[in-house]
Symmetry: C2
Subunit: 425 residues, 2 copies
Amino acid sequence: MKIEILCVGTEILLGDIVNTNAQFIAKEIAALGMESYHQSVVGDNPKRLKDSLSIAFSRADIVIMTGGLGPTYDDLTKETAAEFFGRSMYMHTPSLERIEIFFKKIGRDMTENNKKQAMMPEGASIFENHNGTAPGLAVRGKLIDHPEWGEKIAILLPGPPKEMAPMFRESVVPYLAALSEQVFISHEIHLFGIGESAVEAELIDMMETMTNPTIAPYAKEGEVLVRVTASAENCEKAEEIIKPTIDTIKARLGQYIYGVDVGSLQNALVQLLREKGLTIATAESCTGGLIAKRITDIPGSSEVFGMGAVCYANEIKTKLLGVSEETLRMYGAVSHQTAREMAEGARRVSGADLAVSTTGIAGPGGGTTEKPVGLVYVGVSTPHGCETFELRLARGYSADRERIRWSAASNAISLATNAVKKLEK
Amino acid sequence: MKIEILCVGTEILLGDIVNTNAQFIAKEIAALGMESYHQSVVGDNPKRLKDSLSIAFSRADIVIMTGGLGPTYDDLTKETAAEFFGRSMYMHTPSLERIEIFFKKIGRDMTENNKKQAMMPEGASIFENHNGTAPGLAVRGKLIDHPEWGEKIAILLPGPPKEMAPMFRESVVPYLAALSEQVFISHEIHLFGIGESAVEAELIDMMETMTNPTIAPYAKEGEVLVRVTASAENCEKAEEIIKPTIDTIKARLGQYIYGVDVGSLQNALVQLLREKGLTIATAESCTGGLIAKRITDIPGSSEVFGMGAVCYANEIKTKLLGVSEETLRMYGAVSHQTAREMAEGARRVSGADLAVSTTGIAGPGGGTTEKPVGLVYVGVSTPHGCETFELRLARGYSADRERIRWSAASNAISLATNAVKKLEK
C-alpha cells in the first residue's frame, strides 16, 4: 500500500510553523512498513486543495491529510474529500454531542459554526478527538471521477499536533494495521552518552541484514533512540520476534541504555525514584532551572521532588546552599569544589535523599582560555558521599547556549539516575 | 511571481528529519512578498523527482529545490533540472578549486566523485557554499518540453540546513530581490493576553483592504504576533509606509503589546531590566523552574537575575522563602496569600529589586472542585508592595500540564514586565 501525506494549512506555506505533522506521520508509516514517496503542503484554497488531492490519489492508495477540519468557512478538507468519493454530508450525532459537552466543560457558548465539525461524509469511519473538538475520519471507496484507479482511502486528521498525534496512535495505527492483516509492534531503546553514528556502527550488520524486526536509530535532542519494529499475525508473535534483537542490542550497547520505552531521561529518573521511594533536589547555576523544569514536566514528580535552587549569582550560592565564600574565591564558581558544595548544600537544605548540581559556562560570553564556553561541572550528593564530574560540551555543532544548557541538564539527569540505581531507601 | 518549494530527500519521507528547510524558505519568501502555494517532498528517485518537478513547473514561475547536490550517484537534482531546460553540464572550474581547497583545509583526500559537485548546467548562476562543498545554482529559461509555459527559474540549494540557510540569505535573497526590483521590510508586533481571533477582529478592516503594507496575525505559544510587511524601491520608503500602520495597531491594541521585534516575552523582560538597571528573582511552585529557565535562556541574563527558588514542597516554601506555616495551613499552598509570601520572601532573600512567584495546580492530578486544575496564583513583589493575581488556565485546549505551565510562566513574565515598567532604579 502506497501512502501519501498532504498537509493543509496556509500557516505552513507562510513558514509560520514547521510541518512536524508530516514528519510524525512519515515516521509512523515507516514503522508500519508502508511506503510513502511524496509529501505535499497546500493552503486553505478550494481549487488548489482539490488539485493537490487529485495528484495525490493518482499516485497513492491512501492519502493522509492534516488540517482544515476547523469550524470556519475556509476549513474545507472534509467537504473536498467527500466530493472525490461522491458522498454527501450528514450530521454525526455522537460527534455533535461530544462537541457540546466540550463547550459546556469549558463554560463557553458553542457557536453555530462549530456544528460544522460534526458533519461527516456518509460511510466514513470516525476517529474521536480526545484533545479538541474536530473528530478525524477515514473515507474508503472508489473515486467518482476515476473509478478505474481502484479503491482509495482518505484519512483526515486535525492540524494541531497535540490533537493529531494521539489520534494517530489511538485510531489511525489500528485502522492501517487492519488493512494489512499484520500487527506491528515497536519498542524504543533509549541511549545517552553515545552518538547516532557510533550506534549505527555497532548495529550496522543487523540493520543491513534484518527485515523482521527492523532496526532504526534516531538522534533526538542529544540522545539516541533505537526503534525495533516487528510484524506478525498477532502481538504475542511480534513480541517473540522482537525479544532476541533487543537482548542483542542490550548486550552490545548496555552501558549507554537508560531504558526501553521510557520516553525521556527525566521520566526514567522520576520513575526510578518513585519505585525506590527516594527524593531528589536540584541546585542549578548554568542550567538556570532547566533540570527542575524537566523533572517537574513529569506528572507526579511532586512525590520525588521538593526543592530546586537556581543560584545564578555567587552570593545566592552562599546564602541558599551554604557554598563557602572561600571556595568561590579560591576555585571560582565554575569548579569541582563549587559543584560539590552546591550539591551537598541542596541535599542538606532540602532533606532529600540525593541532590544534583550544575555550574558552568553556557556562553556565548563568559568563556576564558582556562574555562572555555561549554565547561560544566556536575555534582551528585548522596548519603554515600558526593561525586563531581567535568564536562566539555562545546564540541562541534554543540557550541551554542541552548544546546550546552540542554546537554548539561541531560548529563546531570543521567548522572543522577546512575546514582539512584546504587541507592536503596 | 509564484514560487514553489520542492525538497528532495528520502530521509524526509522516512520521517528521520523534520523538514525545517521548507519552513525557512517559506518564511523568507513571505518576507519578500512573493507567493507560495505548494510545498512538496520527494525521494532520491529519478522518475519521481522528474514528475514532481514537472508538476511544480506547471504551477509556479520559480521552483526552489533543496537536497540532492551531493557527490554520490543518487544525487541527481542538478542533472534533472538541467534536462528540463535542455542544458548540458560543464565543469565549473572556480567551484572545483573551492572544493579542492576545502578538502586540503580539512586534511582529507578529495575523492573522484566530489568533482561531480562542480559540474554545472550551462548558463547557470552559481552560489558559493561557505559551509560545505556543494555550490548552489539557478537556471533560468524556457523548458524544452513546455516552452508555452514561458520563462521558468529553478533554484537548487544544498540539503543540510547549515549550508542552505546562509546561502539563501547571502545569494538567493539578492537573486530574488533583483527579479522584483523592490525591497521588503517586515516588523513583528508581539502581543500577550489576547487571542488570535480577537486580534483579527480588531484588525480585520485593515487586513482586508490594505495591500501595502500587509498585515498578518499569527498565534504562537500562547502569544500573538502581528507581522506588518511593506515593499518599496528602498528601505527608507518601506519604513515610511509601515510606520502609520504600526501606530494604528498600537492605538487599537496597545494594552496587549509588549514590544515590536523583541523576540519573546522573556527577552522583553530581560532587556527592560537591563535598561533600567534592575534585578529580578523568581519563586516557583507549579511552573517548577520554567520561568527561571526562560529568563536564563537569554544571553546576559546574569546581569539581571541572581536567584530562582523552585519550591515544590510546602516545607521548602517555608524553609527557603519564609512562607508561614499558618498561611499554608489556613489558605493552602495554592492561594493569593502563599503567592504573596513567596514573592516577598524571594525578594527579601535574593536582595533583588523585584520578585515574581507562581503557585497553582498544573495537573493532571491534584485538582478539586474548589481548586481545579489550571488555577494559578502569581505574586509580584516590588519596593512599592506586592500584587497577586488569580489565573484560570485550564480552559479549552489549554487543559494539559505542559500548556498550563507554559501559560502560567508567560503570564508571570508578562505581569513582572508590567511591574518593571512602573519601577525606577
